[in-house]
């Protein structure tokens, strides 16, 4: 009788142990995913008890950290934008001085345009006309409209009818409340 009771106890312990054991499916080599499967070989998704990712890889961002910092307007650090605008003197000018003055006007306007494009962005519209399997007309339109304040002219050069104006603007986070 004693032996029968001991045998029954042993059998129950063995059966309990067999139900509690959880087999871990070995992942293929060079994999960092561990699948915990109670049956040993899981064929269906419902049978999988747990999926673990060992040492998850760091997802690379498109921009590097340093590049990202330089492009985004920081709360503490103001952003300096520098552009070079170009302008040409008209053909029929009375004097070289007038040619310089008029070329400078055009160069300043070009510099303002470049600042507006850099800060606000450009609207681009494109249109292609294809007739009888041939491109008849291809049109690209770009436009920008902005208000620019406190831009400084750094340097002006005039050479062979071309005037170049280097312009700078400092942007602060406080200028953009929204």
């Amino acid at each position: 009788m004693k032996y029968a009771l001991v045998l029954a106890a042993l059998l129950s312990v063995v059966s309990c142990a067999s139900t509690d054991t959880v087999k871990t499916q070995t992942p293929p080599e060079n994999s960092n995913i561990t699948i915990v499967c109670p049956t040993g070989s899981c064929t269906k998704a419902q049978e999988v008890q747990k999926v673990e990712i060992v040492n998850p890889p760091v997802v690379k961002t498109v921009l590097d950290k340093t590049e990202n910092e330089s492009m985004v307007l920081n709360e503490q650090k103001p952003l300096l934008i520098s552009v070079v605008g170009q302008g040409v003197a008209p053909i029929n000018t009375a004097s070289p001085a007038q040619a310089y003055a008029l070329a400078k006007r055009a160069a300043v306007a070009d510099a303002y345009r470049l600042i507006a494009e850099k800060v606000k962005g450009v609207r681009i519209d494109g249109q292609d006309l294809v007739q009888n399997m041939m491109v008849k007309r291809s049109t690209v339109r770009t436009s920008v409209a902005a208000m620019v304040r406190n831009a400084n002219i750094v340097e002006t050069t005039f050479k062979e009818g071309l005037c170049e104006v280097e312009m700078e603007i400092t942007l602060n986070r406080s200028q953009f409340p929204h």
């Binding site: 070009d110 291809s138 049109t139």
Partner: protein, 142 residues
């Protein structure tokens, strides 16, 4: 006997009147002008430039200044603002640009041929102008 109260108030009233007159004359002598600027640039060549200066027919309602720093221009011969500005045109234009310019740019490329138009506009603003003996102070109002 006459009381001393009436004698004491009379000099005070005269002095206050004098102060009031000085203050009102100071505000009266500060002229107000309406100034606007516009330039059109086509294909990197200036096409048109317009600077409009006119005396304000009525008092400007604005109180605060658009630009913190006022522009000082020297007076050489006449006290006409148009002449003073034309004599110091580059300096005045730079001051206007710093105060804020509206930029409108449109570019079209059709069959690889490019055309562009850029408009720089300083919208009409009221300017407070103070004429002194040797210089004039110009400051735009908001």
């Amino acid at each position: 006997m006459r009381s001393g109260n009436g004698d004491n108030t009379q000099p005070f009233s005269i002095s206050s009147l004098v102060i009031l007159f000085i203050l009102s004359s100071a505000t009266l002598f500060a002229d107000e002008y309406l100034i606007s600027y516009r330039s059109v640039i086509q294909d990197a060549i200036i096409y048109n430039e317009t600077l409009t200066i006119s005396h304000a027919m009525q008092k400007c309602p604005q109180n605060s200044f658009l630009n913190e720093k006022a522009l000082l221009l020297p007076i050489k011969k006449s006290k006409d603002l148009k002449e003073i500005i034309l004599q110091n045109y580059e300096e005045f234009l730079e001051y206007l640009q710093k105060s804020g310019m509206k930029v409108e740019h449109a570019q079209e490329t059709r069959n690889s041929i490019n055309h562009s138009t850029t408009r720089l506009t300083f919208q009409t603003h009221c300017f407070k102008v103070d004429f002194n003996d040797n210089f004039v102070t110009i400051a735009p109002l908001k």
